[in-house]
């Protein structure tokens, strides 16, 4: 957690991350476009402002754990980590290429250099792992409380766990097993961001397998639910703060996002879920992002 970066600066960073997503996908020649662009603001807020982890503390025992479940949107994870200073931005151009650390779906094999905690890909696996991290932190917290008499022993590390999921992957039964379990344990140590972008590979989520009323469903499983504009950096940061402060149960932050955000011909088009831009499309996308960045900056000014 660096903290204190201005919204103007965060907005500028998010635009650079979106540009890096486009150029890395173009270099890769395959990969997903819509999801990464839609979640860029959440990733920016999470890695720059919210989570207790920095390049200096990337291997600290008490770093916050971030678990990306829908790992096909990893281009946004990679671009965010590179811009945040975990590894060189040039490496983004190796996305999906033979020998790269930036695999088509993110893995934990480059720890501690690249602080990705888990492997993802097959949908529905992240939240369960996040519960495991949260339970381990809770165990340490309890042991620390028991040990308070022995002033000499160093406290065990504790941390907050942030899980990132998509809405489409909520079709997976494993997520509901996990949602049920986190509710059972009132797992305040855990927060999940749900990318509510309404699309999945075959179409709109409500046509493929309806999720609504999503917030009510989550509440009935004993979660606190916040619904936010997933492109409003201040709302994202505030919701995360509220989640940390919520003591009675885990928090789900349903982030309403526009898939493909920032590139008009990709926005809200499920056709862009699973393909990269070609050279011409990338050129248009980059031009739009740069213009868009200018307008946003002036808005804040």
């Amino acid at each position: 957690m660096a903290g204190g970066t201005s919204l103007t600066e965060l907005t500028r960073i998010a635009t650079t991350i979106r540009e890096d997503i486009i150029t890395s996908l173009l270099a890769a020649g395959s990969g997903h476009s819509a999801g990464p662009l839609g979640m860029t603001d959440v990733f920016t807020a999470l890695y720059y402002e919210i989570a207790n982890i920095t390049p200096e503390t990337r291997s600290a025992a008490d770093r916050d754990r971030i678990v990306l479940s829908n790992a096909h949107i990893c281009p946004v994870l990679y671009a965010t980590l590179a811009n945040r200073g975990y590894f060189p931005r040039e490496e983004l151009q190796t996305l999906r290429k033979l020998g790269t650390r930036l695999q088509g779906h993110s893995n934990n094999h480059s720890q501690p250099d690249i602080p990705i905690e888990t492997c993802g890909g097959p949908l529905g696996q992240g939240l369960s792992q996040a519960i495991g991290f949260a339970l381990a932190s809770r165990n340490h917290d309890k042991r620390n409380q028991e040990k308070t008499k022995e002033a000499t022993s160093a406290p065990l590390p504790t941390w907050h766990t942030w899980a990132l999921l998509s809405d489409g992957e909520l079709d997976e039964g494993q997520n509901w097993e996990a949602i049920m379990m986190a509710g059972k344990f009132n797992l305040r140590e855990l927060t999940m961001f749900i990318d509510r972008n309404n699309i999945q590979i075959d179409g709109f989520t409500e046509d493929i397998m309806p999720l609504e009323p999503l917030a009510d469903k989550l509440r009935s499983f004993n979660w606190t639910v916040l619904e936010i504009d997933g492109h409003n950096l201040q709302e994202i940061i505030d919701a995360a703060g509220q989640a940390r402060a919520t003591y009675e149960n885990p928090t789900a932050i349903v982030c309403h996002t526009i898939p493909g955000k920032g590139v008009r011909f990709m926005e809200n088009r499920f056709e862009w879920h699973g393909k990269p831009p070609n050279a011409e499309e990338a050129k248009v996308a980059l031009a739009e992002l740069r213009t868009f960045a200018g307008s946003i900056t002036s808005e804040h000014e």
Partner: protein, 327 residues
Amino acid sequence: MPTLDPKLNPHLLLPTVEKVPTRNGYGDALVELGKTNPDIFVLTGDLAESTRAHLFQKAYPERFIECGVAEQNMMGVAAGLALAGKVPFVSSYAVFVPGRNWDQLRVSVCYGKANVKIAGAHSGISVGPDGATHQALEDIAITRVLPNLVVIVPCDYEETKKCTKAVAAYKGPCYFRFTREKSPVITTPETPFEIGRAYVCRAGTDVTIAACGPLLFEALVAAETLAKNGIEAEVLNCHTLKPFDEATLVTSVKKTKACVTVEEHQIIGGLHGAVSETLGRNFPAPIEAIGMPVSFGESGEPDELLTKYHMKAADIVEAAKKVVKRK
């Protein structure tokens, strides 16, 4: 004169040999481990008592996690705990774990190199009356193929105990299976056990019998019968299916020139698979298989089923005679 290894249970072939379910070795070892290692966690999916995880639950309730009947989530939670430095033991029936959460085992655990220990209870045909759905006969095949995963089939109570402690000390994911029924105690606390090292239980010159799990007992009984017929069998306890101890097997078969495999598993993908692959690459020799003939099981008493599906000592004797003729 070939004899049984002196480190095995001296009462092994006597009618008085004591019989204990292998799963008890799991429960007892967990309690011992929990005492000295505060990072040991035990998870179960609504099967605490029958997997013997309840013994740990009683001793260390704060490190016992009841996951309910939700095996996919359970495997993921274990992966997260492991990646946070804990040593979680996932306890369920082998038909459910890894049967029902193989993808979570593959990606969250094996690909992520999460230090998870997976205990598959009620494996094999000897589960008995519960019938085909609950008889895990494919678990070794689907685990042995996974990168980064160790696969172990201990033969008795003592070895299950040693196995549980050995996998706790080992860094990396491990799957091991055990059985429901009482079975003869073949080994003693002094019998060596090392992950990845097959153990020569009985030395012989005419045929190698490679066995794993409680059927090792039937193999040793068969070896005595064979000796009376002038065939000296070398009996190997191949408890570790992966990494498979190729050297011990090849050394033995170079001497005997024939092999019989014995397992409570389909004859595809398990011990017969491991032995066939090993000998095919290193020292081709005739092999006969004792195990499930790639079919589902059925309800029945354990001994009735072992008899029907030709997994008893008499069947091993016949297989050994047959394979010796094929040399």
